[in-house]
């Protein structure tokens, strides 16, 4: 399990240093304002695929890099099964994999890359790597420097899944994938991950992952607006796809063939969650949503 307590992180040279006096009127950012993440508290449980959503610059990638130990929390702490990720202990690293949004073209064949590095992860399976590569229609014998960005991304996705780690952090994994590959990616994630794994996927392309992510975490600048399972969301919010307009809708949008409205679920009726509408409804009603879900 991942436990995040009062996590804070800031970029820039004045980060966290309250002794530096800056003038806000002159356009200086106060150290407090520079926090990308501030007082973040949450628990990420086993056996779930978390969808990490948020606008640009709210700290999705920062949170993922903090979770995998690429950055050091400036305040608060992260505990992953008793490990502090920033210590980068091999025993912890061997049970986690971070798939960056920017992937590196190594000067070797994909299969050699898997052979060369897979051995560091105890659960890694070369057969599984080849199988996922085939499912994603990518040639493992191809040199990585000759691959397109999409092919390279699929190679790294295959490697990440073949590592069979308990913790898997993916930053924008569907960026650069073509339409069939996105479906294959969803299939691969559900098929090739452990039952006890904690997967956190950060994305802007909510439709790409609509059917696999549960719970949903929506980050705002310095805050967590929502951290709830699909069942909790459906219990508290109602997604109305009829063209009848209601005045108390939290969010409404015209869609081809009608409209979609998000309202409070007062009848307990079940509805199909639309992630884009949910995201917009949360952003337009931040305090209300936090109040509803933090009860």
């Amino acid at each position: 399990m991942i436990t995040i307590k009062d996590l804070g992180f800031t970029y820039g040279e004045t980060g966290g240093l309250k002794t530096i006096t800056l003038n806000k009127e002159k356009g200086h950012m106060l150290p407090e304002d520079r926090y990308v993440l501030k007082n973040i508290n949450m628990n990420l449980e086993e056996g779930r695929i978390y969808g990490l959503l948020g606008e640009n610059g709210v700290g999705k990638t920062t949170l993922l890099t903090l979770l995998c130990g690429l950055k050091k929390p400036q305040t608060g702490s992260i505990d992953i099964d008793g490990h502090n990720p920033y210590d980068r202990e091999p025993s912890f690293l061997a049970d986690q994999y971070y798939l960056s949004d920017e992937v590196a073209p190594m000067n070797i064949k994909a299969i050699d890359y898997a052979r060369n590095y897979g051995k560091f992860w105890e659960g890694f399976s070369l057969e599984k790597f080849i199988e996922i590569m085939k499912e994603l229609e990518t040639d493992p014998e191809q040199k990585m420097t000759r691959m397109s960005f999409g092919q390279l991304k699929k190679t790294y996705i295959s490697f990440a899944l073949a590592c069979n780690t308990k913790y898997l952090f993916m930053d924008e994994p569907t960026n650069g994938l073509d339409i069939p590959s996105k479906a294959q990616f969803r299939k691969a994630v559900t098929k090739h991950t452990r039952e006890d794994s904690v997967i956190v996927i950060s994305t802007h392309q909510v439709r790409d992952l609509e059917n696999i992510i549960d719970p949903i975490i929506i980050l705002d600048r310095q805050d967590v607006l929502l951290n709830a399972t699909m069942a909790e969301i459906a219990e508290r919010l109602y997604f109305d796809y009829t063209s009848d307009k209601t005045d108390d809708a939290l969010y409404s949008e015209m869609i081809p063939g009608g409209s979609i409205q998000v309202t409070l679920n007062q009848t307990g009726e079940d509805s199909k969650i639309n992630l884009e509408a949910l995201f917009n409804a949360v952003h337009q009603n931040k305090e209300l949503i936090k109040g509803i879900f933090n009860k």
Binding site: T65, C68, G69, L70, K71, K72, D87, R88, E89, P90, S91, L93, A94, Q96, Y97, Y98, S100, E102, V103, A104, M106, N107, I108, D112, N116, Y117, K119, F120, W121
Partner: protein, 295 residues
């Protein structure tokens, strides 16, 4: 932290072989170019010039080949760390390097061995091997570099004979013994062995510390460090140097007695200590960079 998380020989073996493969993929061609092409091109160019200018087939002599060997060594030392490890300052490569399940110490030791021992040793072996083949095929080149170096060492080792050449009417037996001692100190191979690390380590540190302009910035940093140490050392050396200048026209015995002090009598020890301190500082810098690198 458990001992297994600090250093594990089995995991280090895996990491080192992976590192070796990756370095070979990234730098193998450059190494072959430097180690094989340099002596071959030197041989053909010298012969071509001799044919055009002197109408003779005359290969490069040992002096020119030694000079090119030094140039090749500098090229190898300067380019290897950047090509093999320079990319860890980039997010795509660095993220993977930092999250690869091996300890910081294992990554550090592997880096050190690769840049300071494996690559120079392989480069030297290939270069000297190529030189030996060229000299065996074409006797106009004279002795090969290995034979030349062996002879130089043999000559330097035979100090007594060399010293006795100084003993004439103007130099006393006591001063001849002093010359013998100084030359003995200078010809101690240990004085030069640790210099190898003093050349390779700054470029490794520069490769993983600077984000761009790695080689140029490293050279500038070395230059700045040399300037700083010169400024610090000047007051200590000034009096002694002034005395040498003052006695420049004195008889050889007076000049030689000026070298009869602790610095020259313990030259190897002083040199070894100062080199060790610098090398340890550089290693600490490399270790700290690996420990604190974030993406």
């Amino acid at each position: 932290m458990k001992t297994n998380d600090i250093f594990n020989f089995r995991r280090f073996g895996k990491y080192f072989t992976s590192d070796l493969r990756t370095c070979w993929a990234n730098y193998g061609l450059s190494l072959l170019t430097i180690a094989i092409l340099f002596p071959v091109v030197t041989y053909f160019l010298t012969n071509a010039f001799n044919l055009v200018l002197n109408s003779t087939w005359d290969g490069p002599d040992i002096g020119l080949r030694s000079f090119i060997f030094i140039v090749a060594t500098i090229c190898l030392v300067v380019t290897m760390p950047v090509k093999c490890y320079g990319k860890i300052t980039e997010k795509q490569y660095g993220s993977f390097f930092l999250t690869l399940p091996a300890s910081r110490l294992e990554k550090f030791v592997s880096m050190f061995l690769m840049t300071s021992i494996i690559a120079p040793a392989l480069g030297f072996a290939l270069y000297l091997g190529t030189d030996a083949i060229i000299c065996a095929l074409d006797h106009t080149c004279g002795r090969n570099l290995v034979a030349g170096a062996m002879e130089l060492i043999r000559n330097m080792g035979d100090m007594k004979e060399l010293t006795m050449n100084f003993v004439d009417e103007s130099i006393t037996i006591e001063n001849a013994a002093l010359v013998h001692e100084i030359l003995g100190q200078i010809s101690n191979p240990w004085m030069y062995i640790d210099e190898i690390f003093g050349i390779t380590l700054p470029f490794l540190l520069g490769a993983i510390y600077f984000k761009n302009g790695k080689t140029v910035k490293t050279i500038l940093a070395i230059f700045a460090f040399s300037m700083a140490t010169s400024i610090i050392m000047t007051p200590f050396m000034e009096t002694w140097a002034a005395e040498i200048v003052r006695n420049a026209n004195a008889d050889p015995n007076t000049i030689l007695q000026m070298f009869n002090n602790g610095i020259f009598k313990h030259l190897v020890l002083i040199d070894t200590i100062s080199d060790t301190v610098v090398n340890l500082a550089l290693m600490a810098g490399i270790w700290l960079r690996i420990k604190t690198l974030k993406h």
